[in-house]
């Protein structure tokens, strides 16, 4: 069998963060090859390097036996590689046929030959059973159909090697089944498929071989037939993870689980809130976003002076939870009681009212929600607290400056320059600015998303210390993080979210990394709802 | 780098011949009618009187006065504003430059609180035309020429100045064809009504569609649309201000020409000869201020004997035997 893709010693670092460390990968022609790993394991980076979208710091790439002359996407396509991105690169108002020929329009007498394009859609579509209507506008298509258009385009461009980055994240179970069957057909026809995923049941169903990445390194390269979900999970997490039986698609709602969790959640917080009065009580929080259920029946309490961590694979509702609590997403059902004697349903308040009531928010995505890039540090530190600087018509420059100096000093932001443009700060310093702004609001509740994402090691400890100090000062904290170690280090309690539901709860000290990882990957919670111990 | 010379002033004339400056209204030039008639007059001044001339077409309304003022400040001997809209501007500038001669074509007379006409400043000549007289003649011709016994009128902006055209036209039609049906419409109520060929065509097609076979327009470049309608439907139209035969050959029955060019030329000549005097100048048939066109181009379109009949009416008006109304008595 000849080799379709060969990567040797691929290294890639983003600042202090190493995404890939000397990764080797060999994929045979005519096979489906899965790349698995936890969030941040370096899967996407590796694929982007292969597709020429990113340039590796070191290492070599060969596609179908040839080395790209230049590390560009165009060159990778020329060599026969086609990438189906997680975010579709389609022109929404165009029809399928128009999208297909985009960039290499079929011309006849100088005019776009759409008839030929339509025929091409029909041909490719029929050959692979893709069933995409050539004349439909892309904006009218379902997500699954859009994905098929993406695949169709890659095939139309003559790709021999298809790379799919998390293709099933956006699909319904029926669409997933259909996609996997299609991938097998591609392999059978002599094409090669690389699929990036963290869903082990899909890997078992479709892949010939599996490569496992952990923290940027290749930790396993296995034949699917000779491995098991448990072994893969073990490799991904780094220690044994007990897996449930052969259940490719865990049920969305298992009443038994829900009851047990609800019971344990209220019981758990009851226990912990015995000493600490609850500052935040969620009851049956639900949210439908983009036609699917993003949050369902989420109920838990946060005590004053307690850090409650939310663990979960990205995209399981944690972001939505923070947005709903912060007031950035409307349409949630259920109630969110906040405060002590002055109890109020947070869902009825505007963002400004929440801030005044004592809610602070460190958003998950700093660039999107946290800092105005073109503002100075001082200006960013004024956001949401303008009243502190004097009458609205004459903000006191001295007060602004003093506040900025104080925050920069207390949170050790470098450079200590309030006039520095926020966009010039490193990730860690930018995060300290956001954290500083939010903490100096003197909140009663802090919503904190991914506090150390993209933050250098040195700053991580400082940020953690600030969060602990805040907790010790009696502030309730909801902490969402993709880093399990971070949650374990900081939290008094950890809740696990899967598909918009709380599927597990662990008290500090009782938390079991394996069990959490298992629940995050969608394992059934039945054997150990309380999260202590676990099946063999 | 560009060299910046020491600011030679605008149009500094070689020699000391008196210079003539003319300001069009915004977007006026190229209307093939009123403004272009003024331009022809200016060209004649240059070519026949050998006076240096300049003209300005302002980009915005507030520039009308500014343009007049610049010309006056440059020492032009005669400054002409083309159109009734210049009335206030000419008055303002003329007061500041008492030694410069000003002319305003279609100057709008204002009445004081006592109802008496306010005379223009002494150095302003108000060029006013008795358009109703020329309109009467083309109306008479239309009455003689119509086969459907229905004639039309398309005015530009609905103001008394244009109503004068309609009034004379109506009277002329009534003189030669008492039972003719008359349709009169206006393109709008703002200055834009003089620059809207699309609207002109719409009105023209409507009138021709209703049985009208001859339309007289007094609407600036809006009339070009009326001509278009005439050409498309095979009917006749009557031009205004200039001889507009060339705009739709074979479809222009005649034109009611207004001697804007002649009046500009005459005032310039007076300035050149040193006997300019301000005041209101009323120009009608007797002064050759207005006329109707009959030459080899449109001869074939005119009914037999029409020339003699219309000319006879013209003579009667000159002798004062026929009085042409200036306002429309709208029949209820």
């Amino acid at each position: 069998m000849s080799v379709a893709v060969e990567l040797r010693g691929i290294c890639k670092a983003y600042g202090a963060l190493t995404a890939n460390r000397a990764v080797d990968l060999t994929v045979d022609v005519g096979t489906v090859h899965a790349i698995v790993g936890e969030n941040g394991a370096g899967k996407s980076t590796l694929m982007r390097i292969l597709a020429g979208v990113e340039v590796a710091d070191a290492g070599t790439v060969r596609i179908l036996g040839e080395s790209p002359a230049r590390p560009t996407a165009r060159e990778a396509i020329r060599l026969g590689l086609g990438m189906v991105h997680q975010h579709f690169m389609l022109v929404e108002p165009f029809t399928v046929a128009e999208n297909l020929v985009l960039g290499h329009e079929l011309l006849r007498a100088g005019l776009l030959d759409l008839a030929a394009a339509r025929k091409a859609v029909a041909d490719v579509s029929a050959a692979w059973g893709l069933e995409v209507p050539a004349d439909a506008r892309v904006e009218d298509l379902s997500v699954g159909e859009k994905q098929r258009v993406e695949i169709l385009r890659v095939l139309y461009q003559g790709a021999r090697v298809l790379v799919l980055d998390e293709p099933t994240a956006v699909l319904s179970p029926a669409e997933v089944t259909r996609l996997l069957a299609m991938l097998r057909r591609f392999a059978a026809s002599g094409r090669t498929v690389l699929i990036v995923t963290h869903k082990l049941d899909e890997v078992m169903a479709v892949a010939d071989r599996v490569t496992v990445l952990r923290r940027g390194e290749r930790v396993g390269d296995l034949v699917t037939m000779q491995t098991s979900p448990a072994e893969l999970a073990h490799l991904m997490v780094g220690r044994p993870v007990p897996m449930p039986g052969n259940r490719p698609d865990p049920p969305d709602a298992d009443p038994a689980i829900d009851e047990s969790i609800a019971g344990s959640a209220s019981g758990g917080s009851g226990a912990s809130a015995g000493a600490r009065p609850a500052i935040l009580t969620l009851d049956g929080l639900g949210l439908v976003a983009g036609g699917r259920s993003a949050l369902a029946g989420v109920s838990f309490k946060v005590g004053a002076g307690e850090i409650v961590g939310i663990a979960g694979v990205i995209g399981n509702g944690q972001s939505e939870l923070l947005d709903v609590l912060g007031g950035l997403r409307a349409g949630a059902t259920g109630t969110v009681q906040f405060g002590g004697s002055d109890r109020v349903n947070l869902l009825t308040l505007s963002v400004a009212e929440r801030i005044r009531a004592g809610v602070a928010h460190v958003p998950e995505d700093r660039a999107d929600r946290g800092l105005v890039a073109d503002f100075t540090v001082a200006e960013n530190l004024m956001l949401g607290k303008l009243r502190e600087f004097g009458p609205w018509y004459a903000l006191g420059r001295t007060a602004v400056r003093a506040h900025a100096d104080a925050v920069l000093e207390r949170f050790d932001v470098r450079p200590r320059d309030p006039e520095a443009q926020a966009s010039t700060l490193s990730g860690g310093n930018a995060q300290k600015v956001v954290l500083g702004r939010e903490i100096t609001r003197s909140p009663r509740l802090l919503l904190c998303g991914q506090p150390t994402r993209g933050v250098d090691i040195g700053a991580v400890e400082a940020i953690h210390a600030q969060l602990r100090a805040l907790r010790d000062a009696g502030v309730g904290i909801v902490l969402v993080s993709a880093e399990l170690t971070e949650l374990l280090a900081l939290c008094d309690r950890i809740l696990v979210m899967h598909r918009g539901r709380i599927t597990g709860e662990f008290l500090a000290g009782e938390a079991d990394l394996d069990r959490i990882g298992e629940l995050m990957l969608g394992a059934t919670a039945a054997p150990a709802a309380a999260g202590i111990g676990g099946p063999p | 780098m560009l060299a910046w010379p020491g600011g030679r002033s605008l149009g500094q004339a070689p020699g000391s011949a008196p210079r003539v400056g003319l300001v069009f209204d915004v977007g006026g030039r190229g209307d093939k009618s009123f403004n272009d008639a003024a331009f022809r007059g200016l060209m004649r001044v240059r070519d026949e009187l050998h006076m240096p001339v300049e003209y300005i077409e302002p980009g915005e309304g507030a520039d009308r006065e500014s343009a007049l003022r610049m010309l006056a400040a440059e020492g032009f001997s005669l400054v002409v504003g083309v159109g009734f809209i210049f009335t206030d501007d000419v008055n303002n500038v003329a007061v500041d430059y008492p030694h410069t001669a000003f002319a305003c074509v279609d100057y709008a007379l204002q009445t004081g609180p006592d109802g008496a006409v306010v005379p223009p400043p002494a150095n302003v000549v108000a060029l006013k035309f008795r358009e109703e007289e020329g309109s009467y003649l083309v109306g008479a011709l239309a009455g003689l020429s119509t086969k459907t016994h229905a004639v039309g009128f398309v005015g530009g902006m609905d103001i008394p100045l244009i109503r004068k055209f309609e009034a004379g036209y109506r009277a002329g039609v009534a003189r030669t064809c008492p039972d003719c049906r008359m349709t009169a419409q206006y393109a709008g109520v703002t200055g834009a009504a003089f620059k809207d060929p699309g609207k002109g065509k719409e009105l023209g097609l409507g009138q021709y569609g209703s049985g009208v076979d001859i339309i007289f327009h007094a609407s600036g470049s809006t009339g070009l649309g009326v001509f278009e309608a005439a050409r498309e439907t095979g009917h006749l139209a009557i031009g205004v201000d200039s001889d507009q035969y060339d705009e739709a050959p074979g479809h222009i029955l005649t034109s009611m020409v207004k001697g804007v060019d002649v009046s500009v030329y005459d005032v310039a000549k007076e300035v050149l000869d040193g006997h300019f005097s301000g005041g209101i100048r009323s120009l009608g048939l007797a002064e050759d201020g207005v006329a109707w066109v009959h030459d080899e181009h449109n001869a074939a379109l005119l009914p037999t004997g029409a020339v003699a009949q219309v000319d006879a009416l013209a003579e009667a008006i000159k002798r004062g035997e026929v009085t042409v109304p200036t306002t429309v008595e709208v029949p209820k």
Binding site: A352, R369 | E57, S66
Partner: protein
């Protein structure tokens, strides 16, 4: 060099480049038109900065351009593109003309002037707030709605003036009372005699300073800029984004409305249909050249006013379209240079 000075210099590079290139291209165009560039540029300068009247006229024309520049710049700082200044100008001027002509003739000057100024500002503000509100309430894009509101304002003014307010034989409303009229500077400064430049000019530094203060020193300004530079961050910080954007559009509209002060109270003494002549659209050019920085609007407005007045002066030498092309070139180059330096800032 302090960073502030450096960034100011950086802002000045684009306009300077624009001007130099416009002159070079103008040079070629003038040659093509068969005239002598030194003569034309000389006449342009002589007719503007070369004499008292020219200077006064440049100031007179720059005044409304600063107002419409602000009308674009303020919403721009809040992340909105106000293409509706033209309509807001009409609304403000009509209000000034209407209110001014309905005041009692005995009204003291201070009261009459102030009333008309407020009327002009409020009418423009209301007309400007409309697209802001439509955006916040229905998500209608302000570029589309503000363009459409231009036509609506002009058509409404046209109708109201023609059918109700116009004096016989004219296109304008009744004269405003004497007390509401502003003094022409020519009555104090003989060099400015004849020019329509009036005391509305003194509003320019006041309004520009006020806007600069508002943007940089007030809570409202901070919120407004945060919305413009990072609406999602602002939202997360509790800034009522829709309300702030509506306010920015209202303020901008009010500034455009103030053009009426210069034209109605300072020049004609009445509202004349169709007077605005694109001054609202020129405001876009002024604001872009000044990169929406209040104080820089003044030199930008002076530049365009010079080109406009100078266009009259050279009208006899070259077709007036050449000046239009010069204006367009200044704009295109300024926009391109602005985009380039913005990219450079991002890259650093």
């Amino acid at each position: 060099m302090s960073p502030k000075l450096a960034s100011l210099l950086d802002r000045l590079i684009a306009p300077a480049l624009a001007l130099a290139l416009a002159m070079a291209i103008g040079h070629v165009l003038i040659l093509v038109a068969g005239a002598s560039p030194p003569e034309v540029f000389g006449a342009l300068l002589a007719g503007t900065w070369g004499n008292g009247y020219g200077i006064a006229q440049v100031l007179f024309k720059a005044t409304p351009l600063v107002f419409t520049g602000l009308a674009v710049a303020i919403p721009y700082r809040a992340g909105l593109f106000n293409i509706g200044a033209e309509g807001q100008v009409v609304a403000g001027a009509l209000a000034a003309g209407f209110v001014g002509s309905h005041l009692p003739t005995a009204a003291p000057a201070l009261v009459a002037v102030t009333t008309c100024v407020i009327a002009a500002f409020m009418a423009g503000a209301l007309w400007g707030a409309l697209p802001g509100w439509l955006r916040g309430r229905f998500g209608a894009h302000e570029v589309i709605t503000s363009i459409m509101l231009n036509f609506i304002a002009m058509a409404l003014a046209n109708w109201v003036v023609a059918d109700f307010l116009a004096q016989p034989q004219t296109l304008h409303t009744a004269a405003i009372v004497d007390g509401a009229r502003l003094t022409r500077l020519g009555s104090w400064l003989p060099a400015f005699r004849g020019s329509a430049v009036n005391t509305a000019l003194f509003l320019v530094p006041v309004v520009v300073a006020g806007t600069a203060w508002l943007l940089n020193r007030t809570a409202t300004g901070h919120q407004l800029r945060s919305v413009g530079l990072g609406a999602r961050v602002a939202e997360a910080s509790g800034v009522p984004v829709a309300r702030v954007q509506t306010l920015a559009m209202a303020l901008g509209g009010g500034m455009a409305g103030m053009v009426g002060v210069n034209f109605v109270q300072g020049y004609k003494g009445y509202f004349e249909d169709g007077f605005s002549g694109g001054v609202g659209f020129m405001g876009i050019a002024v604001a872009m050249l000044a990169r929406a920085e209040p104080w820089l609007l003044i030199p930008a407005a002076l530049l365009f006013a010079t080109l406009s007045q100078g266009g009259l002066a050279i009208n006899a030498l070259v077709p007036k379209e050449i000046v239009d092309v010069l204006v367009a070139v200044v704009l295109v180059v300024a926009a391109a240079a602005g985009a380039r330096s913005a990219r450079r800032e991002e890259g650093s």
